[in-house]
């Protein structure tokens, strides 16, 4: 049994055999096979050689009649593939080391390549490149097998990979895919997005998880706690089966409250909105009981097309969601990526500290053409419903004013061409830097609403990167520093009588709901699958007891004390959540 901790990006429990997907762009990890699988893996090596040979023969044929280097290269590759001692070295490796065909090919060929490379003769050391080329060709065939298999699944599996690309996931037979676990990625990785839109559990940022899994491993993916368990023992398996059953029962129970209002027992109405990534997620947000969209992340527009999105691309995406929610709020957040993540810009020289670097609103303010394109589309969509615009990562009043000035410029442009828009569009900002939180009273005078992005706010306030395993345990929303900061932001917003919502992960964490309500929050924006559960909590509490709880937390002095206290309080209200 092997337990790995990662980041939970999509809730639920999946228990199934694993299907490991490698990519030739990444190092193939060592993966063991059972002695009984030897014959099959050796057969796969032979087949990959066969396919590579016929492919090369065709390539060589195309060069016939030409006396050139390329033809010679193909000819050499064919001879390597026909070389019995070469092939035997790979199959021996599979049989003796009990590893997959992919791993054997990759390891043996790299070994040979490095032997060649170390020879003190240019003609021979350069052959290393040929060996790498042969490796890629063989891997393409071996990985192609797996792709075929995923497209024609016949039993339930969970997908385990380094990272999945859109092309890979597009081919999956989704009827049989029950969950995802990847080594790379964060909340906005492709895997996370796909999993959420399919409503499947997923955990990402699991360091070298693919190396501890064989294709026969039974795997549990716990998308609630961010844990992946490989080859669980009987007891763990039983516990998880019970837990999964309990969750299903709970889900059915929760679906009953979808159409009931999110009102506390003492009659205070709480607005529950959805966080979405893609326009089609609006449907799920509404099905789960969301009354609007509190955070529409727009990064996908920049990440998936490979080119800078055109105004129409933006407009279509925004209009679809605005129409779906008619007169209900739809908060569109402007581009929130680092310069290093934008695929279509010239590769920037690497920043030593990208999290503190040129990103988000800072990048937009330096790239006005791109920024204005997005704002124009948001404004055009604003006549279709209650569309609002939100600027991320604002650090000071100056930045907010600059962004608003650009928004006004765009409005003037639209006026010139008589394009309709809502001139009173609500403008808000994310409170996610400590400087914004500390100067919230100043910022409040220049905008219509705040949305507290707790993920970044915690990272910047506690100076902790939660992706860094050595310090990840220091990252906690239960830190007293976060409590003080949130309390002051909420106070400043209420005093200035502007809108306030919380859209970070704490808004979907059952343990923090009572605390947030007790601190004065009345709008929460969260991942759509979590809305029913949070609504259940809202309907089970009174504001009076939440206020009491928040006052009590204000007297506590450690993460642990706060965390335990909140957990106990929530368990009393809604035991099924734990």
């Amino acid at each position: 049994m092997d337990i790995r901790k990662g980041i939970a990006v999509s809730p639920g429990i999946a228990i199934a055999r694993s299907m490991v997907i490698d990519s030739r762009d990444y190092r193939i990890p060592r993966r063991s096979i059972l002695p009984s699988q030897r014959i099959k893996e050796v057969q796969r090596v032979h087949e990959a050689f066969g396919k590579a040979i016929s492919q090369l023969a065709a390539l060589e044929q195309a060069q016939v009649g030409r006396e050139n280097q390329i033809k010679d290269i193909f000819a050499v590759h064919v001879r390597f593939l026909h070389d019995e001692s070469f092939q035997k070295r790979i199959t021996d490796y599979v049989e003796n080391e009990l590893v997959t065909a992919e791993y054997a090919v990759s390891t043996v060929l790299r070994e040979i390549a490095s032997q060649f490379a170390s020879v003190d003769d240019e003609y021979i050391s350069e052959r290393a490149a040929d060996i790498y080329d042969i490796e890629r060709r063989l891997l393409t065939h071996l990985l192609g097998d797996v792709r075929q298999e995923v497209e024609h699944l016949k039993e339930e599996v969970v997908i385990v990979a380094h990272e999945l690309t859109p092309t890979q996931t597009a081919g999956f037979n989704k009827t049989f895919v029950k969950g995802f676990a990847t080594e790379a990625g964060g909340r906005t990785s492709h895997t996370a997005i796909i999993a959420r839109s399919l409503g499947l559990p997923a955990v990402v940022a699991l360091e070298d998880v693919t190396s501890c899994i064989t294709s026969e491993s039974l795997v549990i993916i716990d998308g609630n706690r961010g844990v992946v368990i490989v080859d669980p023992d009987e007891q763990t398996l039983q516990e998880y089966r019970d837990y999964a059953r309990e969750l299903t029962r709970f889900e059915v129970e929760l679906s009953g409250i979808r159409d009931k209002p999110a009102v506390t027992r003492d009659g205070v109405e709480i607005e529950l909105l959805g966080n979405i990534e893609f326009p089609n997620e609006a449907v799920m947000a509404r099905e789960k009981g969301g009354v609007g969209i509190g955070l529409y992340r727009t990064e996908f527009l920049y990440l998936y097309s490979g080119t800078e999105p055109a105004e129409e691309d933006h407009y279509e995406a925004y209009a679809e969601v605005a129409r779906h929610f008619e007169g209900r709020p739809v908060v569109i957040r402007t581009m929130d990526l680092g310069a290093d993540k934008l695929p279509f810009t010239a590769r920037q020289p690497g920043e030593a500290n990208p999290v503190l670097g040129l990103r988000s609103i800072r990048y937009c303010l330096q790239n006005l053409i791109m920024f204005k394109t997005q704002l124009r589309a948001v404004l055009r969509a604003s006549v279709l419903g209650d569309v609002r615009v939100m600027f991320p990562m604002i650090g000071n009043l100056q930045e907010l004013r600059q962004a608003k000035m650009i928004l006004r410029d765009v409005m003037e442009d639209l006026d010139e061409y008589a394009v309709p828009y809502n001139p009173d569009i609500k403008v808000g900002i994310m409170i996610e830097t400590p400087s914004a939180a500390l100067t919230a009273s100043l910022l409040a005078s220049d905008c219509d609403f705040f949305s507290i992005g707790t993920n970044d706010l915690i990272q910047y306030t506690l100076a902790v990167d939660r992706g860094n395993e050595h310090v990840a345990t220091l990252y906690s929303a239960a830190d007293p520093a976060i409590f003080y900061l949130l309390r002051s932001v909420i106070h400043d917003a209420n005093k200035a009588r502007i809108g306030l919502s919380v859209c970070g992960e704490v808004a979907s964490d059952p343990e923090y709901i009572m605390l947030l309500l007790g601190m004065g929050v009345r709008t929460l924006s969260l991942a759509p699958p979590m809305i029913p559960e949070v609504k259940q909590i809202v309907r089970s509490v009174t504001i009076k007891e939440c206020n009491h709880l928040a006052r009590k937390v204000g007297t506590m002095d450690s993460q642990r004390q706060i965390k335990n206290f909140l957990r106990d309080a929530t368990t009393r209200i809604i035991p099924e959540a734990f």
């Binding site: 010679d72 001879r79 070389d83 001692s85 070469f86 060649f116 003769d121 003609y123 021979i124 052959r127």
Partner: protein, 96 residues
Amino acid sequence: MSEPVHEIEVQIRNIEGLHMRPAMQFVDTASRFDCEIQVTNEETSVDAKSIMQMTMLAATCGTKLRIKAKGRDAGEAVEALRTLVEVKMFGETPAV
């Protein structure tokens, strides 16, 4: 009845040594025969029919190689290889 064994020594004479194309020709020639053929430089002994092993031999211009063939057509095999290396010199430029 023991199988005939033939053994000769040849010297690589073309400037570029046993690089890609010559190695290919060498392996192709050796593969035409049924006999077992071993090629030895000062340190290692390899299979003349394996391009991987021949490449690793790293024979450069001037290298002396022992070719040892064992089997029915061993005599023809060593002669064919000698011709390729020393007479035809892989159809390439000899060192002066």
